[in-house]
Symmetry: C2
Subunit: 223 residues, 2 copies
Amino acid sequence: MEIDLSKPILDRNERLAEENRRVFDEKGVFVLDLMASPGAGKTSTILATIDALRDRYGIAVIEGDIASKVDAEKISAHGIPAVQINTGGACHLESDMIQRAISALDLDEIDLLIIENVGNLVCPTEFNLGENAKVMILSVPEGHDKPYKYPNIFEISEAVILNKYDTVSVFDFDEDDFRSVVGKLNPRAPIFPISATKGDGVSAWTEWLAGRIDAARASAEEV
Amino acid sequence: MEIDLSKPILDRNERLAEENRRVFDEKGVFVLDLMASPGAGKTSTILATIDALRDRYGIAVIEGDIASKVDAEKISAHGIPAVQINTGGACHLESDMIQRAISALDLDEIDLLIIENVGNLVCPTEFNLGENAKVMILSVPEGHDKPYKYPNIFEISEAVILNKYDTVSVFDFDEDDFRSVVGKLNPRAPIFPISATKGDGVSAWTEWLAGRIDAARASAEEV
Protein backbone atom coordinates (compact mmCIF):
# COMPACT_ATOMS: atom_id res chain seq x y z
CA MET A 1 0.00 0.00 0.00
CA GLU A 2 1.17 3.47 -0.75
CA ILE A 3 -0.07 6.59 0.99
CA ASP A 4 0.44 9.97 -0.58
CA LEU A 5 1.59 11.89 2.45
CA SER A 6 1.73 15.16 0.55
CA LYS A 7 -2.05 15.28 -0.02
CA PRO A 8 -3.25 16.38 3.45
CA ILE A 9 -0.50 19.03 3.57
CA LEU A 10 -1.50 20.41 0.17
CA ASP A 11 -5.23 20.31 1.00
CA ARG A 12 -4.71 22.21 4.24
CA ASN A 13 -2.53 24.76 2.43
CA GLU A 14 -5.18 25.23 -0.24
CA ARG A 15 -7.82 25.97 2.40
CA LEU A 16 -5.62 28.55 4.10
CA ALA A 17 -4.70 30.08 0.73
CA GLU A 18 -8.40 30.74 0.13
CA GLU A 19 -8.65 32.41 3.53
CA ASN A 20 -5.66 34.61 2.66
CA ARG A 21 -7.24 35.39 -0.73
CA ARG A 22 -10.44 36.60 0.97
CA VAL A 23 -8.48 38.89 3.31
CA PHE A 24 -6.44 40.35 0.43
CA ASP A 25 -9.59 40.92 -1.67
CA GLU A 26 -11.35 42.64 1.22
CA LYS A 27 -8.40 44.96 1.74
CA GLY A 28 -7.71 45.54 -1.97
CA VAL A 29 -4.18 44.13 -1.77
CA PHE A 30 -2.57 42.75 -4.94
CA VAL A 31 -0.22 39.92 -3.99
CA LEU A 32 2.77 38.79 -6.03
CA ASP A 33 4.55 35.49 -5.26
CA LEU A 34 8.08 35.87 -6.62
CA MET A 35 9.99 32.61 -7.14
CA ALA A 36 13.56 31.89 -8.29
CA SER A 37 16.71 29.88 -7.62
CA PRO A 38 19.00 30.99 -4.80
CA GLY A 39 20.96 34.02 -5.97
CA ALA A 40 18.91 34.79 -9.08
CA GLY A 41 18.34 38.33 -7.81
CA LYS A 42 14.94 38.23 -6.12
CA THR A 43 15.75 40.90 -3.55
CA SER A 44 17.45 43.18 -6.11
CA THR A 45 14.45 42.83 -8.40
CA ILE A 46 12.11 43.70 -5.52
CA LEU A 47 14.19 46.79 -4.70
CA ALA A 48 14.09 47.92 -8.35
CA THR A 49 10.33 47.27 -8.43
CA ILE A 50 9.83 49.32 -5.27
CA ASP A 51 11.77 52.24 -6.76
CA ALA A 52 9.64 52.18 -9.91
CA LEU A 53 6.23 51.84 -8.23
CA ARG A 54 6.43 53.38 -4.74
CA ASP A 55 4.93 56.70 -5.87
CA ARG A 56 1.88 54.92 -7.27
CA TYR A 57 1.21 52.15 -4.73
CA GLY A 58 1.62 51.42 -1.04
CA ILE A 59 4.07 48.50 -1.02
CA ALA A 60 5.11 45.92 1.58
CA VAL A 61 7.29 42.83 1.36
CA ILE A 62 7.30 39.40 3.00
CA GLU A 63 10.73 37.76 2.84
CA GLY A 64 10.98 33.97 2.99
CA ASP A 65 14.28 32.32 3.86
CA ILE A 66 15.46 29.17 5.58
CA ALA A 67 17.48 31.38 7.94
CA SER A 68 18.75 34.97 8.42
CA LYS A 69 17.01 38.32 8.11
CA VAL A 70 19.42 40.05 5.70
CA ASP A 71 16.78 40.45 2.98
CA ALA A 72 14.14 42.05 5.22
CA GLU A 73 16.79 44.43 6.52
CA LYS A 74 17.66 45.50 2.95
CA ILE A 75 13.98 46.21 2.22
CA SER A 76 13.42 48.05 5.52
CA ALA A 77 16.49 50.20 4.85
CA HIS A 78 14.62 51.24 1.70
CA GLY A 79 11.78 52.59 3.85
CA ILE A 80 9.31 49.82 2.99
CA PRO A 81 7.57 47.60 5.60
CA ALA A 82 9.11 44.12 5.51
CA VAL A 83 8.40 40.94 7.46
CA GLN A 84 10.97 38.15 7.50
CA ILE A 85 9.75 34.56 7.66
CA ASN A 86 12.38 31.99 8.60
CA THR A 87 11.09 28.58 7.56
CA GLY A 88 13.59 26.67 9.70
CA GLY A 89 14.20 23.96 7.17
CA ALA A 90 11.24 24.20 4.81
CA CYS A 91 12.10 24.77 1.17
CA HIS A 92 9.06 26.91 0.32
CA LEU A 93 6.50 29.21 1.94
CA GLU A 94 3.04 27.97 2.92
CA SER A 95 -0.20 29.84 3.50
CA ASP A 96 -0.11 29.55 7.29
CA MET A 97 3.26 31.35 7.33
CA ILE A 98 1.75 34.15 5.21
CA GLN A 99 -1.24 34.31 7.56
CA ARG A 100 1.07 34.92 10.51
CA ALA A 101 3.25 37.38 8.58
CA ILE A 102 0.35 39.62 7.49
CA SER A 103 -0.76 40.03 11.10
CA ALA A 104 2.36 42.21 11.44
CA LEU A 105 1.36 44.46 8.51
CA ASP A 106 -1.24 47.23 8.16
CA LEU A 107 -3.08 45.93 5.09
CA ASP A 108 -5.13 49.15 4.79
CA GLU A 109 -1.93 50.92 3.76
CA ILE A 110 -0.87 48.29 1.20
CA ASP A 111 -1.80 48.08 -2.49
CA LEU A 112 0.99 45.71 -3.52
CA LEU A 113 2.36 42.93 -1.31
CA ILE A 114 5.42 41.22 -2.73
CA ILE A 115 6.26 37.80 -1.31
CA GLU A 116 9.82 36.66 -1.90
CA ASN A 117 9.66 32.88 -1.77
CA VAL A 118 12.54 30.62 -0.64
CA GLY A 119 15.18 30.17 -3.36
CA ASN A 120 13.96 27.01 -5.11
CA LEU A 121 12.61 26.23 -8.59
CA VAL A 122 10.58 23.23 -7.48
CA CYS A 123 8.59 23.20 -4.24
CA PRO A 124 7.16 26.76 -4.25
CA THR A 125 5.22 25.88 -7.43
CA GLU A 126 2.93 23.50 -5.53
CA PHE A 127 1.85 25.90 -2.80
CA ASN A 128 -0.69 28.63 -3.34
CA LEU A 129 -0.32 31.45 -0.86
CA GLY A 130 -3.47 33.36 -1.81
CA GLU A 131 -1.53 35.43 -4.36
CA ASN A 132 -2.90 37.12 -7.47
CA ALA A 133 0.07 36.10 -9.59
CA LYS A 134 3.13 33.89 -9.42
CA VAL A 135 6.11 35.31 -11.31
CA MET A 136 9.54 33.73 -11.66
CA ILE A 137 13.04 35.04 -12.19
CA LEU A 138 15.69 33.12 -14.08
CA SER A 139 19.15 34.66 -14.06
CA VAL A 140 21.36 34.43 -17.13
CA PRO A 141 24.25 32.63 -15.34
CA GLU A 142 21.90 29.71 -14.52
CA GLY A 143 21.78 28.83 -18.21
CA HIS A 144 19.20 28.72 -20.99
CA ASP A 145 18.48 25.00 -20.44
CA LYS A 146 16.57 25.47 -17.18
CA PRO A 147 13.07 25.29 -18.74
CA TYR A 148 13.90 21.75 -19.92
CA LYS A 149 14.79 20.70 -16.39
CA TYR A 150 12.26 22.64 -14.32
CA PRO A 151 9.28 22.94 -16.69
CA ASN A 152 6.60 23.29 -14.02
CA ILE A 153 7.71 26.67 -12.67
CA PHE A 154 7.84 28.07 -16.21
CA GLU A 155 4.34 26.71 -16.87
CA ILE A 156 2.67 28.28 -13.85
CA SER A 157 4.38 31.68 -13.88
CA GLU A 158 2.39 34.55 -15.37
CA ALA A 159 5.61 36.30 -16.40
CA VAL A 160 9.28 35.34 -16.59
CA ILE A 161 11.94 37.87 -15.59
CA LEU A 162 15.35 37.16 -17.14
CA ASN A 163 17.73 38.85 -14.72
CA LYS A 164 21.46 39.65 -14.94
CA TYR A 165 20.83 40.22 -18.62
CA ASP A 166 23.90 42.49 -18.72
CA THR A 167 26.05 39.33 -18.38
CA VAL A 168 24.54 37.60 -21.40
CA SER A 169 27.82 37.94 -23.33
CA VAL A 170 29.87 36.49 -20.44
CA PHE A 171 27.82 33.27 -20.34
CA ASP A 172 26.97 30.88 -23.11
CA PHE A 173 23.25 31.78 -22.89
CA ASP A 174 21.22 30.87 -25.98
CA GLU A 175 18.35 33.35 -25.78
CA ASP A 176 16.59 32.06 -28.90
CA ASP A 177 16.48 28.55 -27.49
CA PHE A 178 15.31 29.87 -24.12
CA ARG A 179 12.48 31.90 -25.67
CA SER A 180 11.44 29.02 -27.87
CA VAL A 181 11.17 26.50 -24.98
CA VAL A 182 9.46 28.94 -22.62
CA GLY A 183 7.09 29.84 -25.47
CA LYS A 184 6.08 26.20 -25.78
CA LEU A 185 5.61 25.66 -22.04
CA ASN A 186 3.73 28.90 -21.49
CA PRO A 187 2.84 30.81 -24.66
CA ARG A 188 1.10 33.67 -22.83
CA ALA A 189 3.90 34.57 -20.41
CA PRO A 190 5.91 37.66 -21.34
CA ILE A 191 9.68 37.46 -20.84
CA PHE A 192 11.34 40.57 -19.38
CA PRO A 193 15.14 40.77 -19.77
CA ILE A 194 16.37 43.06 -17.00
CA SER A 195 19.40 44.03 -14.99
CA ALA A 196 17.90 44.60 -11.55
CA THR A 197 21.02 46.22 -10.12
CA LYS A 198 21.66 48.49 -13.15
CA GLY A 199 18.01 49.22 -13.91
CA ASP A 200 18.03 48.18 -17.58
CA GLY A 201 14.70 46.80 -18.76
CA VAL A 202 13.03 47.17 -15.37
CA SER A 203 10.32 49.56 -16.57
CA ALA A 204 8.84 47.03 -19.02
CA TRP A 205 8.43 44.60 -16.11
CA THR A 206 7.04 47.16 -13.65
CA GLU A 207 4.57 48.57 -16.20
CA TRP A 208 3.28 45.05 -16.85
CA LEU A 209 2.90 44.59 -13.09
CA ALA A 210 1.16 47.95 -12.71
CA GLY A 211 -1.24 46.89 -15.47
CA ARG A 212 -2.07 43.69 -13.55
CA ILE A 213 -2.61 45.63 -10.30
CA ASP A 214 -4.90 48.17 -11.97
CA ALA A 215 -6.86 45.44 -13.78
CA ALA A 216 -7.41 43.55 -10.51
CA ARG A 217 -8.61 46.76 -8.88
CA ALA A 218 -10.98 47.57 -11.73
CA SER A 219 -12.52 44.11 -11.69
CA ALA A 220 -12.97 44.29 -7.90
CA GLU A 221 -14.84 47.60 -8.27
CA GLU A 222 -17.21 46.07 -10.81
CA VAL A 223 -18.32 43.41 -8.31
CA MET B 1 -2.69 17.21 17.18
CA GLU B 2 0.15 17.50 14.78
CA ILE B 3 1.68 14.62 12.88
CA ASP B 4 5.13 14.95 11.39
CA LEU B 5 4.48 13.46 7.98
CA SER B 6 8.12 13.75 6.98
CA LYS B 7 9.30 11.20 9.58
CA PRO B 8 8.14 7.93 7.95
CA ILE B 9 9.52 9.12 4.58
CA LEU B 10 12.89 9.97 6.12
CA ASP B 11 13.02 6.71 8.13
CA ARG B 12 12.29 4.61 5.05
CA ASN B 13 14.90 6.54 3.06
CA GLU B 14 17.48 5.99 5.81
CA ARG B 15 16.87 2.22 5.71
CA LEU B 16 17.30 2.10 1.94
CA ALA B 17 20.40 4.32 2.16
CA GLU B 18 21.99 1.70 4.41
CA GLU B 19 21.14 -1.01 1.87
CA ASN B 20 22.75 1.08 -0.87
CA ARG B 21 25.78 1.67 1.36
CA ARG B 22 26.23 -2.09 1.83
CA VAL B 23 26.09 -2.70 -1.93
CA PHE B 24 28.60 0.08 -2.65
CA ASP B 25 30.97 -1.21 0.06
CA GLU B 26 30.78 -4.74 -1.28
CA LYS B 27 31.61 -3.56 -4.78
CA GLY B 28 34.25 -1.03 -3.69
CA VAL B 29 32.38 1.92 -5.19
CA PHE B 30 33.04 5.42 -3.82
CA VAL B 31 29.86 7.48 -4.11
CA LEU B 32 29.72 11.26 -4.31
CA ASP B 33 26.41 13.14 -3.88
CA LEU B 34 26.87 16.48 -5.66
CA MET B 35 24.39 19.20 -4.68
CA ALA B 36 23.87 22.77 -5.93
CA SER B 37 21.33 25.34 -7.09
CA PRO B 38 19.94 25.07 -10.61
CA GLY B 39 22.55 26.31 -13.06
CA ALA B 40 25.51 26.37 -10.65
CA GLY B 41 27.47 24.12 -13.00
CA LYS B 42 26.98 20.59 -11.64
CA THR B 43 27.19 18.89 -15.01
CA SER B 44 30.19 20.98 -16.16
CA THR B 45 31.97 20.17 -12.89
CA ILE B 46 31.24 16.47 -13.37
CA LEU B 47 32.63 16.62 -16.93
CA ALA B 48 35.81 18.35 -15.69
CA THR B 49 36.11 15.77 -12.89
CA ILE B 50 35.74 12.91 -15.37
CA ASP B 51 38.48 14.37 -17.58
CA ALA B 52 40.85 14.64 -14.62
CA LEU B 53 40.21 11.20 -13.10
CA ARG B 54 39.09 8.83 -15.87
CA ASP B 55 42.60 7.37 -16.30
CA ARG B 56 42.75 6.43 -12.62
CA TYR B 57 39.21 5.28 -11.85
CA GLY B 58 36.24 3.63 -13.51
CA ILE B 59 33.56 6.34 -13.37
CA ALA B 60 29.78 6.37 -13.81
CA VAL B 61 27.18 9.08 -13.28
CA ILE B 62 23.58 9.17 -12.09
CA GLU B 63 21.77 12.32 -13.19
CA GLY B 64 18.79 13.56 -11.20
CA ASP B 65 16.37 16.04 -12.74
CA ILE B 66 12.69 16.88 -12.51
CA ALA B 67 12.46 16.32 -16.26
CA SER B 68 14.60 15.90 -19.41
CA LYS B 69 17.65 13.76 -20.14
CA VAL B 70 19.98 16.46 -21.48
CA ASP B 71 22.52 15.96 -18.68
CA ALA B 72 22.81 12.19 -19.07
CA GLU B 73 23.25 12.68 -22.81
CA LYS B 74 26.13 15.10 -22.19
CA ILE B 75 27.85 12.55 -19.93
CA SER B 76 27.24 9.64 -22.32
CA ALA B 77 28.69 11.68 -25.18
CA HIS B 78 31.82 11.83 -23.03
CA GLY B 79 32.02 8.01 -23.10
CA ILE B 80 30.97 7.50 -19.48
CA PRO B 81 27.99 5.35 -18.39
CA ALA B 82 25.16 7.61 -17.27
CA VAL B 83 21.68 6.90 -15.91
CA GLN B 84 19.06 9.66 -15.92
CA ILE B 85 16.51 9.73 -13.11
CA ASN B 86 13.47 11.93 -13.72
CA THR B 87 11.84 12.60 -10.39
CA GLY B 88 8.56 13.81 -11.91
CA GLY B 89 8.04 16.58 -9.42
CA ALA B 90 10.28 15.65 -6.51
CA CYS B 91 12.84 18.26 -5.56
CA HIS B 92 15.57 15.84 -4.47
CA LEU B 93 16.76 12.27 -5.02
CA GLU B 94 15.90 9.47 -2.59
CA SER B 95 17.56 6.14 -1.95
CA ASP B 96 14.93 4.05 -3.72
CA MET B 97 15.59 6.02 -6.93
CA ILE B 98 19.32 5.28 -6.57
CA GLN B 99 18.54 1.60 -5.98
CA ARG B 100 16.67 1.41 -9.27
CA ALA B 101 19.31 3.43 -11.13
CA ILE B 102 22.24 1.23 -10.07
CA SER B 103 20.49 -1.85 -11.41
CA ALA B 104 21.29 -0.38 -14.85
CA LEU B 105 25.04 -0.07 -14.07
CA ASP B 106 27.83 -2.66 -13.87
CA LEU B 107 29.16 -1.83 -10.39
CA ASP B 108 32.16 -4.16 -10.85
CA GLU B 109 33.52 -1.69 -13.39
CA ILE B 110 32.96 1.40 -11.23
CA ASP B 111 35.31 2.94 -8.67
CA LEU B 112 33.66 6.35 -8.53
CA LEU B 113 29.92 6.91 -8.87
CA ILE B 114 28.94 10.58 -9.08
CA ILE B 115 25.30 11.40 -8.31
CA GLU B 116 24.12 14.77 -9.60
CA ASN B 117 21.25 15.71 -7.32
CA VAL B 118 18.28 17.89 -8.37
CA GLY B 119 19.15 21.60 -8.42
CA ASN B 120 18.14 22.67 -4.92
CA LEU B 121 20.02 23.97 -1.85
CA VAL B 122 17.46 22.69 0.63
CA CYS B 123 15.77 19.31 0.29
CA PRO B 124 18.72 17.14 -0.88
CA THR B 125 20.46 17.84 2.43
CA GLU B 126 17.93 15.72 4.34
CA PHE B 127 18.20 12.56 2.25
CA ASN B 128 21.10 10.16 2.52
CA LEU B 129 21.55 8.12 -0.63
CA GLY B 130 24.20 5.75 0.72
CA GLU B 131 26.97 8.08 -0.45
CA ASN B 132 30.49 8.37 0.98
CA ALA B 133 30.49 12.15 0.76
CA LYS B 134 28.14 15.01 0.05
CA VAL B 135 29.81 17.93 -1.72
CA MET B 136 28.19 21.19 -2.79
CA ILE B 137 28.82 23.72 -5.50
CA LEU B 138 28.06 27.40 -5.10
CA SER B 139 28.52 29.53 -8.21
CA VAL B 140 29.86 33.06 -7.95
CA PRO B 141 26.80 34.71 -9.61
CA GLU B 142 24.57 33.35 -6.81
CA GLY B 143 26.27 35.71 -4.35
CA HIS B 144 28.45 35.44 -1.27
CA ASP B 145 25.46 35.71 1.11
CA LYS B 146 24.11 32.22 0.40
CA PRO B 147 25.65 30.57 3.51
CA TYR B 148 23.59 32.96 5.66
CA LYS B 149 20.41 31.87 3.95
CA TYR B 150 21.04 28.17 3.35
CA PRO B 151 23.34 27.23 6.26
CA ASN B 152 22.43 23.55 6.40
CA ILE B 153 23.89 22.55 3.04
CA PHE B 154 27.16 24.31 3.91
CA GLU B 155 27.24 22.49 7.26
CA ILE B 156 26.82 18.98 5.87
CA SER B 157 29.07 19.26 2.80
CA GLU B 158 32.54 17.76 3.11
CA ALA B 159 33.87 20.26 0.57
CA VAL B 160 32.56 23.41 -1.09
CA ILE B 161 33.30 24.05 -4.76
CA LEU B 162 33.08 27.73 -5.73
CA ASN B 163 32.35 27.57 -9.45
CA LYS B 164 32.36 30.25 -12.19
CA TYR B 165 35.25 31.79 -10.26
CA ASP B 166 36.42 33.45 -13.50
CA THR B 167 33.41 35.81 -13.17
CA VAL B 168 34.33 36.99 -9.67
CA SER B 169 35.18 40.48 -10.99
CA VAL B 170 31.85 40.75 -12.88
CA PHE B 171 29.78 40.13 -9.75
CA ASP B 172 29.91 41.85 -6.40
CA PHE B 173 31.16 38.66 -4.68
CA ASP B 174 32.84 39.25 -1.30
CA GLU B 175 35.11 36.21 -1.05
CA ASP B 176 36.47 37.13 2.41
CA ASP B 177 32.97 37.28 3.83
CA PHE B 178 32.05 34.02 2.09
CA ARG B 179 35.10 32.19 3.46
CA SER B 180 34.55 33.58 6.94
CA VAL B 181 30.88 32.45 7.13
CA VAL B 182 31.54 29.03 5.59
CA GLY B 183 34.48 28.65 7.99
CA LYS B 184 32.15 29.19 10.94
CA LEU B 185 29.47 26.80 9.66
CA ASN B 186 31.91 24.09 8.68
CA PRO B 187 35.52 24.70 9.72
CA ARG B 188 36.85 21.45 8.21
CA ALA B 189 35.45 21.85 4.68
CA PRO B 190 37.96 22.97 2.06
CA ILE B 191 36.76 25.58 -0.46
CA PHE B 192 37.83 25.02 -4.07
CA PRO B 193 37.49 28.03 -6.41
CA ILE B 194 37.22 26.63 -9.94
CA SER B 195 36.07 27.41 -13.43
CA ALA B 196 34.62 24.10 -14.55
CA THR B 197 34.32 25.10 -18.19
CA LYS B 198 37.81 26.67 -18.42
CA GLY B 199 39.55 24.16 -16.14
CA ASP B 200 41.08 26.66 -13.70
CA GLY B 201 41.45 25.29 -10.19
CA VAL B 202 39.89 21.92 -11.05
CA SER B 203 42.98 19.85 -10.13
CA ALA B 204 42.93 20.98 -6.48
CA TRP B 205 39.35 19.69 -6.27
CA THR B 206 39.98 16.42 -8.12
CA GLU B 207 43.13 15.64 -6.10
CA TRP B 208 41.15 16.14 -2.89
CA LEU B 209 38.49 13.77 -4.26
CA ALA B 210 41.12 11.21 -5.32
CA GLY B 211 42.54 11.37 -1.79
CA ARG B 212 39.09 10.60 -0.36
CA ILE B 213 38.58 7.69 -2.77
CA ASP B 214 42.00 6.18 -1.99
CA ALA B 215 41.49 6.61 1.76
CA ALA B 216 38.10 4.84 1.60
CA ARG B 217 39.70 2.00 -0.37
CA ALA B 218 42.60 1.67 2.08
CA SER B 219 40.30 1.53 5.08
CA ALA B 220 38.11 -1.10 3.34
CA GLU B 221 41.19 -3.27 2.75
CA GLU B 222 42.14 -3.10 6.43
CA VAL B 223 38.79 -4.56 7.48
